[in-house]
Amino acid sequence: MSDPLLSVRNLTKVFGGLVAVDSVSFDVARGEVVGLLGDNGAGKSTLIKCVSGVHASEEGEIVFDGEPVAFASPMDARRAGIETIYQDLALANNLDVGANIFLGREVKTRRLGGLVQTLDDKHMREQSRQTIDSLQIRIPTLTEPIEKLSGGQRQAVAIARAVYWDARLMIMDEPTNNLGVPEQHKVLDLIRMLKRRGVPVILITHVMPDALQVTDRIIVMHRGRKVAEKITAHTNAEELVQYMVGAREDAPT
């Protein structure tokens, strides 16, 4: 394996007296899909929030693309190329696809000889259309508020936004939650598509089949600690469940 894109070393995060993440280390290589598995409260989300700039960690080191990083905010992490898609997607449901993909980073154009700045909706819509097409996503209309789209389509919009802004690492938090089965498959297809494009993905999930279907490697967390790290092809659901519920634990690597 070449240099990992992301390398987390002995990361610890404490909330009051609770050690939410306890000295966790892991790597993500370029073009790799890593599953982060664990029950509720296992520390998956906290770990990921440390990587994506939401939390500052107490101890440990995060190395991204060979450089040690300390993100002060989620925007910082995004600027570096780490895009996180949370369960609520962080989309504005009252705005259309183009407005959402460019939300907070709107493209403006000068009018009346540079006197006023207006939104360049045409450009934003065109760019959105291209990105959506390149991901082979089908969305009925780009000009209606996205509240009219299905859960899977909105998930796709969030992914398209990350792709448009050149995400170098994508973190997805339970992306198949609250979706129907066909939509779950679409989202998993999108993750495979990202992998083919060389964008590594960290997939946070507690849905075993999802993890086994699309990941290359699976990290299992239990009570804040990393209890297992397995090549997906060399493990199975039963073994992973044992790690998830705390019945088994590997020595820290």
């Binding site: 962080a90 939300l103 907070g104 207006t118 939104l119 299905s150 779950q184 849905v207 075993m208």
Partner: protein, 399 residues
């Protein structure tokens, strides 16, 4: 293999769980494919305000001559101008309020901010004129004083709401009382007088004058020197305050629908979390929104000072609820996230046409309140029925 079996079991579980999800999503899909009657209902709910305005105007056009035995007509130039003048304060207060409510906020201070602006602009104008400035620069000083003072209140509102996280309802309720007290104190008991006499022209002269019949004609930017019968029949078309308001409306349309600020206003109303995480400078936008709301109210205060040649600390008091009514009738959702400037203009027009028409029908004035109140509730009912039809998820009231 035990592992494969476990995987199979968990897959089965997922499948059985998702069977109900599929049924659910099928229901949603069915509702997404709308029947023609549903489409018609949605279309009607979008344009109902226009339709309502048109039907109401038509009703008065027919009923006013009938009720008065033909001596009074609703459809006159003079009446149209009266309506335009009447909507100015309600509309200006409503414009800023439209932005704030789209961003899922509320500004209860606009009425008294208008009062304060009226007093401040009168003081600034009088001070400037008495210190030797010509009239026009003094009027501009009045604008600066009124809008500047109002904007300061808006800034305080915005900072407390955005930075100290106090609900907008409470903050603007508080500043509303504070501004009320300040307006009375500064005006030394409600009215600022002693303004230059020539001021009357700024608040009451117009773009066009029209005198029908012999000896009459159309006059542009110039009040004809006529008397008697001719003067009685002279129509004053587009008084300057109407022109100023039209400019503010055009600017508001541009700001809300064509700029990044407007886009962020919708995004904040659509979902605060999404706005924050998308990197929108939410705090700064909220402060700007309340400054904007106060500023359009400030313009209203300044215009009222020009119109009455006096600053008044009570002028804006009754206008707060009318302005919110105009915004709601215009289709702005109180939950935030949707609405247009044109909607608010229509809402203000509906209130003004209703009020004027009822007066011309010699209906007891208090009925106006009852009718306007009913229209507000009907407007929201129509809005909600559309939501029901297209199955939009209800969002909770925020901030």
């Amino acid at each position: 293999m035990a592992g494969a079996q476990a995987l199979k079991n968990s897959e089965d579980q997922v499948l059985s769980e998702s069977a109900s999800k599929i049924a659910l999503s099928r229901d949603l899909a069915a509702s997404a494919a709308l029947t023609p009657s549903q489409r018609a209902a949605i279309f009607l709910s979008r344009v109902w305000a226009w339709v309502f305005l048109g039907l109401m105007a038509l009703f008065f056009v027919v009923s006013v001559p009938l009720a008065t035995g033909g001596s009074v007509s609703f459809l006159t130039i003079r009446n149209s101008q009266n309506i335009l003048v009447a909507i100015i304060p309600v509309l200006l207060l409503g414009l800023g309020q439209t932005f704030v409510i789209i961003a899922a906020g509320i500004d209860l201070s606009v009425g008294w901010v208008m009062s304060l602006a009226s007093v401040l602009s009168a003081l600034a104008l009088r001070g400037a004129f008495n210190s030797g400035l010509p009239l026009f620069p003094s009027v501009v000083a009045g604008l600066a004083g009124g809008v500047g003072g109002a904007a300061l209140v808006g800034f305080v509102n915005g900072v407390i709401i955005a930075k100290l996280k106090v609900p907008a309802f409470i903050v603007t309720l508080g500043t509303s009382f504070i501004t009320r007290g300040a307006a009375y104190l500064l005006s030394e008991n409600s009215t600022v007088i002693g303004l230059p006499f020539g001021l009357r022209a700024y608040g009451n002269d117009a773009l066009l004058y029209y005198i029908p019949g012999a000896g009459g004609g159309l006059y542009f930017l110039h009040r004809p020197e006529v008397g008697g019968e001719l003067l009685r029949h002279m129509d004053i078309i587009f008084p300057y305050p109407v022109v100023v308001t039209a400019v503010v409306v055009a600017w508001a349309i541009f700001l809300l629908h064509r700029t990044q600020f407007g886009r962020h206003t919708y995004a904040i109303g659509g979902g605060m979390d999404a706005a924050v995480r998308s990197g929108i400078p939410v705090d700064r936008r909220i402060i700007q929104l309340y400054i904007l709301s106060a500023a359009t109210s400030g313009v209203a205060g300044w215009l009222s000072t020009l119109r009455f040649t006096a600053g008044s600390a009570v002028i804006g008091d009754p206008l707060l609820l009318s302005s919110i009514a105009a915004v709601i009738i215009g289709g702005v959702s109180m939950f935030g996230g949707s609405g247009t400037i044109i909607g608010t203009v229509i809402g203000a027009l509906i209130i003004a046409v209703l009020t004027t028409g009822l007066v011309m029908l010699n209906v007891e004035a208090f009925w106006q309140f009852i009718v306007v109140g009913a229209v507000v509730i009907i407007a929201v009912l129509i809005d909600q029925s559309r939501d029901l039809i297209i199955g939009r998820t209800k969002r909770g009231l925020r901030r």
